[in-house]
Each structure stands twice: as structure tokens, then as C-alpha cells.
């Protein structure tokens, strides 16, 4: 086993030399998590906006459920998706189990409530400010919701990043539905878990460094964008 300092040195070497194996894993992780975030955004943004602006029976209960679902245990999501996609499951015929598509499904299920709940809160705050003006101008519920989604777009970018951050850092669900197959479904987090258990730290550390760098980079971009937007648009 390498010493910690040796492991760090080897990890740095893997990163700086763009080790092909490491690059493949990173790109697969990004592809899966960006795709999952895209689908989760397509669902979560309109759901959040509709709950924020709409008034219907059971709305309060729905908000409570949505907020609670932000804490969905990833392994439970993984298990449910596994059961759905397994050969004997209702969606088994699709043949998605142990493919990146299954990992996208699991991550999307995991982060859709996060995006929807945070969107609801963001849009509801804006609705409190805009409601009378938009109603006065004759905006119906749908138009108001669309307007608020656009007007809060810079805050919602942070919401999407929160979802993406949760997706790319997740390990339990993708391990179950992806199977951690080398070259097929092995992403950063599952590789880190596997390599650490094997005692082979350099690759695990290198991926950990890349993972942290990605999250830092995206959050820095979001922070800068929000600051720019605040100065530019008020």
C-alpha cells in the first residue's frame, strides 16, 4: 500500500497527465449527472412554480411531502429503481438495468424533489412580491408562473447546481442500478468507493480532487453569475 503522501503524488500525476482511465470516468460522471439534472429540471422547475403560484386542495400537504422528499435516502431510490428495471420488474423489458440510463433515472428521481422544492420556495418568495402587479396586469396563473421562472432565473441556476451537486456526489443509488461496471457504469463516486476498499488510493484521491474541483468550479460560477445579475438586473 502507498503512503498517503505517495498516494497524493500519484493522484496529482493522474490528474495533471489526464490519465485516460480517469478522464473516461470523469466524463461518464458528468454525462450522467448533467443528463439527470436536465430531466430533473424539466420536471422540477414547472412543478415548483405551479405549486408556488397555484392554489388547490392539498397544496400544503404537497409542500410538506415535497420538502420531506429532499431527504430521500439514495440507496432506497436505488433499490426502487432496481426493482422497476430488473428483468422481473414492470420496466424490465427496457433492458436499462446496469446501464448509464438507469443511473440517470436514479439520479433524476433523487434530485427532482430537491429542484422542485427549492424552486417552489424561490418562486413563492418572488410571487409574494409580484402577485398584485402581475394580477393587476391580467397575468393568469400559467403566465405568472412562467414570468416568475424567468425573473428568478439566476437564483434558479443555483437551485439547479444544488441538484447537480447532489447527483454527482451520490454513490448508493448509482452503485445499485449501475453495478459499477468498469468502462460502462463506473463513475467517480463508485470508483472512489471501490478503489478505497481495495486500498488503491491514488485513483480514488485523483477522482476525489476532480470531484471537489468540479463542485467548487460550478458553485463559483453560480456565485459570480448571481453577483453579476444582481448588479446588472437588480
Amino acid at each position: 500500500m502507498n503512503t498517503v503522501s505517495e498516494s497524493f503524488a500519484l493522484a496529482a500525476g493522474l490528474v495533471t497527465h489526464f490519465d485516460p482511465h480517469l478522464v473516461d470516468i470523469v466524463f461518464l460522471s458528468l454525462r450522467v449527472s448533467f443528463t439527470a439534472t436536465f430531466f430533473a429540471a424539466c420536471l422540477g422547475l414547472p412543478i415548483g412554480a405551479a405549486i408556488a403560484v397555484g392554489r388547490f386542495p392539498g397544496r400544503d400537504a404537497l409542500i410538506v411531502v415535497l420538502n420531506a422528499m429532499m431527504g430521500l435516502p439514495p440507496v432506497v431510490v436505488g433499490l426502487v429503481v432496481y426493482l422497476l428495471l430488473s428483468r422481473a420488474g414492470p420496466l424490465g423489458a427496457l433492458g436499462l438495468l446496469f446501464t448509464p440510463a438507469a443511473m440517470v433515472v436514479a439520479q433524476a428521481i433523487l434530485i427532482t424533489p430537491i429542484i422542485a422544492a427549492l424552486t417552489r420556495q424561490t418562486v413563492a418568495d418572488a410571487w409574494g412580491e409580484y402577485r398584485e402587479q402581475l394580477t393587476s396586469l391580467g397575468a393568469g396563473t400559467f403566465r405568472a408562473a412562467m414570468t416568475l421562472l424567468w425573473d428568478t432565473r439566476f437564483s434558479l441556476a443555483t437551485v439547479l447546481l444544488a441538484g447537480f451537486g447532489r447527483a454527482i456526489a451520490e454513490v448508493g443509488a448509482v452503485m445499485i442500478v449501475g453495478g459499477n461496471i468498469n468502462g460502462v457504469t463506473r463513475v467517480m463516486t463508485t470508483t472512489i468507493a471501490l478503489e478505497t476498499s481495495k486500498g488503491d488510493l491514488p485513483l480514488a484521491l485523483a477522482l476525489g480532487l476532480v470531484l471537489i474541483a468540479i463542485v467548487l468550479l460550478l458553485n463559483s460560477a453560480a456565485h459570480a453569475t448571481r453577483g453579476w445579475a444582481k448588479a446588472r438586473f437588480g
Partner: protein, 238 residues
């Protein structure tokens, strides 16, 4: 000239209102006809802003009935300016365009109205400036530009100069006069009695959620008929 009249007179019969479950208005019988400038006066908590919102259809009555012309739902052709203007995160011109789009006015007609409205309030040079970074006075003028472009038959103004400095307030008053001259009926609230004297044709005095006096402005300021209005005016003069 204002668009085709569809929502006047506004007739309130025994209207009560309890926004958020708190009774604010009770037993309001009122008819607002076209053409005038009506100023709602009264002490804090009298229900002026609530009445304005009921007239504009933003707060449904909890009792009684309201009719806009022959309609029982709020018609188009109304606009409102709030004490604190609310602007979307887009340019000054695009804020007006958004309102016009909702009213079904698009294309060259919208462009023309936007330019004319910004000229009217003196914001043409700031047309492409993000609305929310404008000063408070400029944002309020932009809110009036939105009204100017919409050409409503009636506009409700909720203390439109309350948060403005005197120069900006006078500038907004001039815009109000211009809007009225173009044929728009004006209904507004204010705490500024001098402003009320300058702008009002009629005074509607509210006290404890009821209209206790409605009279011509000159008569009201010369000698109100009710003890509440007299006390209000004396209080203001202190």
C-alpha cells in the same frame, strides 16, 4: 384617448371585505362613473387601499356585490400603480412591452406605444436600462409609463407619490393630470392633503371601513360634513 369603455360605472352594493380574514370594509355603497378624479382620504387603517383593491378586483368582496359596467368579473381596461412599483428583471422598455403583450398589443403598435409612453414620463433615454436598477422615482415614472401605454379607461393609484421626493412627486402629479386629460378616470389614495386639493375633483372619505362622506373636493376642504372628516383635517393641520 382611453380605450373603449367597458367597465364603468363601477357599482358597489353593500360591499364588505376581509382580506386575510380581517374585516376591513363594511357596507360600502358606491358608484364610480367615468371621467373624474376621485381621491380616497381617511386615517391609517380606514380601508382606503383595500377599497382600491376591491375596485380593481384584486380583493374579492366578502359580502355584497360589485359590478364593472355590466360585468361581475373585472374587465380589461383597468390599471393600477402601487406605492412601491414592482418591475420585472428586464429593461424599462421590456417592462412596458410585457404589460402590452398581456393586453394583446404587440408588434409595431406596441413599439409605438412604448416610445410614446417613455417620452411622456421622460425616460426615453433609459429605455434599455434594467428597470430594477432605476431610482425609486424613475421606477414609479416607469409604472406610469406602463399605464400610459395601456391607455386604460380607469387607473387606480395607491399613494403613488408616498415614497418620492417633492420634485419627483410633482413630476408624477403632472403625469397623473396628463393621463386624466387623455380620458382616463383616476381613483387614488393619498395622505398628502395639498396633493389631494391639487388633483381631486371628488373626495371619498373613509373612516373605520365605511364611506362616511363623498363630496366635491372644494366643498370638502371648505367644510367637511362629518365630525370624522373634520377631525381628520384638523389632525393633518397640526
Amino acid at each position: 384617448m382611453a380605450e373603449t369603455v367597458t367597465g364603468l360605472p363601477i357599482v358597489l352594493t353593500g360591499v364588505a371585505a376581509a382580506p386575510g380574514g380581517v374585516p376591513v370594509l363594511a357596507g360600502i355603497d358606491l358608484e364610480l362613473t367615468a371621467g373624474g378624479r376621485t381621491v380616497l382620504l381617511g386615517p391609517n387603517g380606514a380601508g382606503k387601499s383595500t377599497l382600491l383593491r376591491v375596485l380593481h378586483g384584486l380583493i374579492p368582496p366578502s359580502g355584497g356585490s360589485i359590478k364593472w359596467g355590466d360585468a361581475t368579473t373585472r374587465p380589461t381596461g383597468q390599471a393600477m400603480v402601487f406605492q412601491r412599483p414592482v418591475m420585472l428583471r428586464r429593461s424599462a422598455a421590456e417592462n412596458i412591452r410585457y404589460a402590452l403583450d398581456l393586453a394583446g398589443i404587440r408588434g409595431a403598435d406596441a413599439d409605438e406605444r412604448i416610445a410614446e409612453a417613455l417620452d411622456e414620463v421622460g425616460l426615453r433615454a433609459l429605455a434599455n436600462r434594467p428597470a430594477r436598477v432605476l431610482s425609486g422615482g424613475e421606477q414609479q415614472k416607469l409604472a406610469f409609463a406602463r399605464v400610459w401605454a395601456l391607455r386604460p379607461e380607469v387607473v387606480f393609484l395607491d399613494e403613488p407619490t408616498a415614497s418620492l421626493d417633492p420634485a419627483a412627486a410633482r413630476s408624477v402629479e403632472k403625469i397623473i393630470v396628463d393621463i386624466h386629460r387623455r380620458g382616463t378616470t383616476v381613483v387614488m389614495t393619498t395622505h398628502n392633503l395639498v396633493q389631494a386639493k391639487r388633483l381631486a375633483d371628488d373626495i371619498l372619505f373613509l373612516h373605520a371601513g365605511r364611506v362616511t362622506e363623498r363630496t366635491r373636493a372644494q366643498e370638502f376642504f371648505a367644510g367637511p360634513r362629518t365630525a370624522e372628516a373634520t377631525a381628520f383635517l384638523e389632525g393633518e393641520r397640526l
